[in-house]
């Protein structure tokens, strides 16, 4: 019974983290699906989302507003607005001029952008990590007596529900709306889509904006969950999310969701049963192994090399 409780605790923690990874991974996978580049600065956009949310929360608190749902919604909207504007601007400044050039050029440009954004926040807000108020505390406890207690916090429930809402909204948007259909068309064949009268530049911008908005949601959620933010906090999270995207099959949106969950669980099982220090090693090794043995990921389509 104890073992089962311990196992379920790791599972819950893993699914919590994993669902936020999935949110960030969507941004990678959508951009890769459409223009075939790794948006290296995506982790930084997520970090900026977390910072904006924190600024909004602190600002509202200093205005004396204490109604929790209002605070959360305002913080979420602010974070999404700033992050998606950032996503739009980054694409415009750093990626659009180099689109279609040799593969390495957009990637190096993206790395430069990532360094730039990291230091932008670092200079504006300092390098120290800043505490993020835990607005949602408490939770359910399972298990009795002096044995292991499994807990499911309200925060974790919030993360699940928010992720679920975002994913459902995204799936509906992609499958039903006009822009979503255009997105799918562009990701299948950019040239053909543009011949058929789709404004591909607009669709690519929209992809960046959607990805950045979801990353901002993840920024708010993970900021509250971890309890602090710092300018470097996007880098590792971005790498993890990229791993999740590759694991699920890059370019595939359901794949990103699945990959995020699997990666989160794998990580929390490692820290629960082996050692917390090596959980990053596990996820990077997982990334290397997948790329070596199944580069298409779990749900990705095999890519045919055209000559």
């Amino acid at each position: 019974m104890q073992d089962l409780l311990y196992f379920s605790q790791q599972l819950i923690n893993g699914l919590t983290i994993g669902s936020t990874y999935a949110l960030i991974a969507i941004g990678y996978t959508m951009v890769y699906g459409i223009i075939g580049m790794i948006n290296f600065a995506h982790g930084e956009i997520y970090m900026i989302g977390a910072y904006t949310a924190l600024i909004a929360i602190t600002g509202l608190a200093s205005l004396g507003i204490a109604w929790l749902p209002l605070i959360l919604i305002v913080a979420l909207l602010c974070a999404m607005l700033v992050s998606s504007s950032m996503g739009w601007a980054v694409e415009r400044v750093a990626y659009r001029p180099v689109r279609g050039r040799h593969r390495l050029i957009p990637l190096i440009s993206a790395i430069g952008m990532s360094i730039f954004l990291q230091n932008y926040v670092h200079l504006a807000q300092g390098s120290r990590n800043i505490g993020f108020p835990a607005l949602i505390d408490g939770g359910f406890n399972f298990g009795s007596g002096d044995g292991f207690q499994m807990s499911l916090s309200y925060m974790q429930i919030t993360i699940f529900i928010t992720t679920l809402i975002c994913m459902t909204a995204l799936s509906l948007f992609i499958s039903r709306s006009r822009t979503g259909r255009a997105c799918r068309a562009v990701s299948q064949d950019l040239g053909m889509a543009s011949l058929l009268g789709i404004d591909t530049n607009r669709i690519i911008s929209a992809t960046f904006v959607i990805g950045a908005a979801l990353a901002a949601v993840a920024g708010l959620l993970l900021g509250m969950y971890y309890g602090s933010v710092d300018p470097l906090f996007g880098f590792i999270a971005g790498l993890k999310a990229f791993t999740a995207a590759v694991l699920g099959g890059i370019g595939s949106i359901p794949g990103a969701m699945l990959g995020g969950l699997i990666l989160g669980v794998a990580e929390s099982m490692t820290s629960g049963y082996l050692s917390g220090e090596y959980k990053d090693v596990i996820s990077f090794s997982l990334l290397i192994l997948i790329l070596l043995f199944k580069p298409t990921g779990l749900l990705g389509k095999p890519e045919v090399e055209k000559i």
Partner: protein, 423 residues
């Protein structure tokens, strides 16, 4: 058209405000557990508004500005002339290089200790950048975990000297060979991957090495690092005030001169200089050998190169291994220079800096890379008041380079033969 332009410009200015005002205009301050928010001072806000205005004006009059920039005559009138003959250019280039090396040999005796120390660091970066240039510039493999091989070189020397008391001169080839072995072992499976996947895998590998160094406390000392790494000796002569090891003599006593701390610094500088020149010459040779041509051929067109019978794995693997070898070289020198190493020195940012040097200098071009290494290391030291903006400028420079001049400041000239014009 004008109204459209105006709307676009307004939109861009608005976006600029959104992405800069919340982050720059408010400061989060942590006081214990409580976080407070303060507005930035008026000058910062004026700057943000000014930035938005500049974006607005630029977008509004974009076509005029771009047209104006194009009509400015090229600053170098020579560029219209016929390019210099290849062999003459190569001759001039090699004379200039020889001159620089000779100057560099005598230079440390004229300047202060601090500048020599900085120059040693520059030389280490030159070695690293030349090595990475083989991988990224010539073979076209984006390696984001290059710093891992640097760490292997440095830690090899540190650990061997700690456990077996090995000397610098023996550790130099061992460190480099071990780094090359790591390159070979990592390269073998991953080189089948496509360009950007390769970049991510090498990045992951670099992080794994760093995390291992950080957490394997019993062997590497974890975050505390390893200290007491010995200095290099000159034919058994030590540069310290007192001789540490049995059988060695001290440099200042042998030559009967007064002890000075500068001797050691200058000696290290000269070692670094010799190794950097060695690196440059070896790689230059490689570039002219069939394997060097094969690197470039594979970079330019993989399918064509393979159809001409080049083995993709062997060629890429050779570039990867050679790059790693020189990183190990640089790592050993670095460990010896610092006397102390910790995983802090081998973070991803370091890889990014080396990559930035290669990109700024011009991928594949040796002179460009050397100049970029000098500029990137020395400029932040000269402009100390801007040093906190160093990485910000780096990032921006990498983006701007890719947008405007992806071939780098001094692009590589391909080796080619020109047919003489028949009279």
């Amino acid at each position: 058209m004008a109204a459209n332009n105006f709307r676009h410009a307004l939109f861009c200015a608005f976006i600029t405000l959104i992405i800069s005002y919340p982050i720059i205009g408010f400061n989060l301050e942590a006081q214990g557990i409580n976080v407070t928010l303060t507005g930035a001072d008026a000058s910062t806000i004026v700057m943000v508004l000014l930035a938005a205005l500049i974006v607005f004006l630029f977008q509004m009059f974009r076509e005029q500005i771009m047209g104006g920039l194009k009509s400015i005559p090229h600053p170098l009138p020579q560029s219209n002339k016929e390019p210099m003959a290849e062999n003459r250019r190569a001759k001039i280039e090699s004379w200039v290089l020889t001159g620089i090396v000779i100057f560099a040999l005598f230079w440390p005796f004229l300047v202060s200790r601090g500048s020599v120390d900085l120059a040693t660091l520059v030389l280490i970066y030159i070695m690293l950048a030349l090595g990475l240039n083989v991988v990224v510039g010539l073979a076209g493999l984006l390696d984001l975990g290059y710093v891992a091989f640097y760490a292997v070189g440095a830690y090899t020397f540190a650990l061997l000297s700690q456990y077996t008391g090995i000397s610098f001169w023996l550790a130099l080839p061992i460190g480099a060979l071990l780094a090359a072995l790591f390159g070979l072992v990592l390269g073998f499976p991953v080189l089948r991957l496509r360009g950007d996947y390769l970049a991510i895998v090498t990045l992951g590998f670099g992080e794994i090495i760093r995390i291992l160094l950080n957490n394997w406390t019993t062997l590497t000392g974890g975050p505390n690092g390893i200290g007491g790494i010995p200095d290099p000796t000159l034919f058994g002569m030590e540069f310290g005030r007192r001789v540490k090891e049995e059988g060695n003599t001290s440099f200042h006593e042998t030559f009967g001169i007064a002890y000075s701390g500068e001797h050691k610094v200058i000696f290290l500088y000269l070692i670094a200089l010799v190794l950097a020149v060695f690196t440059a010459l070896v790689i230059r040779r490689f570039m002219r050998m069939p394997v060097g041509r094969a690197w470039e051929a594979l970079r330019e067109d993989e399918i064509a190169a393979r159809s001409l019978g080049l083995s993709r794995t062997a060629v890429k693997l050779s570039a990867f291994t050679i790059g790693a070898f020189f990183a190990g070289f640089a790592g050993t020198v670095f460990a010896s220079k610092q006397g102390f190493i910790s995983p802090e020195s081998f973070v991803f940012l370091e890889s990014a800096i080396i990559l930035a040097i290669v990109v700024l200098g011009g991928m594949g071009s040796q002179i460009g890379v050397v100049l970029a290494a000098i500029a990137v290391t020395i400029l932040p030291e000269l402009a100390r008041e801007f040093s906190e903006y160093r990485m910000l400028i780096f990032g921006a420079a990498m983006v701007l380079m890719m947008v405007w001049r992806p071939q780098g400041l001094m692009p590589m000239r391909r080796i080619h033969i020109e047919l003489k014009r028949q009279e």
